[in-house]
């Protein structure tokens, strides 16, 4: 009888601990995107120049993206923090990190000497492995959160 009474308490504690851990991941990933977005939002002129350096887009498009992308990142990161439009925020951030990673790999393959778009000019001295590792780590965090958002409740209910 004692064991049966203890079970709901243990489950509740585990559930709270799990939620706490997931929130840490939310905040960690959000923090990175808020930081990265803020760096680029502060100097959109430099960011436009960085995008232009990939030589893939016309200049007006580079300017438009330079103004728009940082705010999209910041807004989505805030979505993770405040659990507002959460899944949409996760999908946009995941897509953006995939695009940045592919662009970085593409630039490396082409031998272009450019800064990674994620952190704008602040990451200009990073090596290619450092860029790639950071991007993949962020993507891993996002995929974990996406998995949790999609399947997490079902898993919890089945325990």
């Amino acid at each position: 009888m004692k064991t049966a009474e203890k079970l709901p308490t243990i489950n509740y504690q585990l559930s709270t601990n799990r939620r706490f851990v997931w929130r840490i991941v939310d905040f960690a990933v959000a923090g990175i995107f808020i930081y990265a977005g803020a760096l680029k939002a502060i100097d959109p002129v430099q960011f436009a120049s960085d995008i232009d350096n990939y030589k893939m887009l016309p200049w007006p498009v580079s300017v438009a993206l330079a103004f728009y992308l940082p705010w999209l990142e910041i807004l989505c990161a805030l979505g993770l923090v405040f659990r507002f439009l959460y899944r949409g925020a996760l999908s946009i951030l995941s897509a953006s990190i995939v695009v940045f990673t592919l662009a970085t790999i593409g630039a490396k393959v082409r031998g272009l000497d450019i800064t990674c778009g994620c952190f704008g000019h602040a990451s200009q001295n990073w090596s290619f492995p450092a860029h790639l590792t950071t991007n993949l780590a962020i993507l891993a965090g996002l995929l974990l959160l996406s998995f949790k958002a999609t399947f997490g409740n079902r898993l919890q209910n089945s325990i």
Binding site: W59, P60, F67, Y68, L72, L75, L85, G88, A89, S91
Partner: protein, 142 residues
């Protein structure tokens, strides 16, 4: 009511337009949508002429075009012979001078590149690109 993933993403994408538009308005003087040269770094022929002796005119066109004709008193500085020509330009420059770089027309990239290198490599301030380039000078000459 829970909105779909796509719906959420669309809402976020639309909301981000607001601060982006605000920032674009705030930075409108610092960045040009037409070319990679900021509006504050472009000058018209009239403005540059108004600077009189404080202006140093720099011709970024190839040697043969410079030899054919150029702004009176202009010095040639192009990327073909940058290392050789730069010291000659620097010998003329002095603090307080305004450098006006021109090339064949607005669509030509050379003046922008030469101006960029003067700002970045020599760390000179007051370096401008002539709006309309050599063609604009010729029009005003008549």
């Amino acid at each position: 009511m829970k909105s779909s993933l796509v719906g959420q993403a669309v809402i976020l994408a639309a909301l981000a337009l607001l601060p982006a538009a605000g920032e674009a308005i705030y930075f409108r003087d610092k960045i040009s949508w037409r070319s990679a040269i900021a509006p504050s770094e472009m000058v018209t022929v009239e403005q540059a002429r108004g600077w009189g002796d404080t202006a140093i005119w720099v011709d970024a066109r190839p040697d043969d075009e410079f030899a054919n004709d150029h702004v009176p008193g202009a010095i040639s500085l192009n990327e073909d012979r940058w290392n050789e020509l730069l010291p000659q330009f620097l010998a003329l420059w002095a603090p307080g001078k305004k450098t006006v770089v021109y090339c064949s027309s607005l669509s030509c990239n050379s003046s922008r590149e030469v101006a960029r290198r003067l700002r970045k490599e020599a760390q000179l301030s007051d370096v401008f690109v002539l709006e309309g380039g050599w063609e604009a000078w010729l029009k005003k000459k008549r």
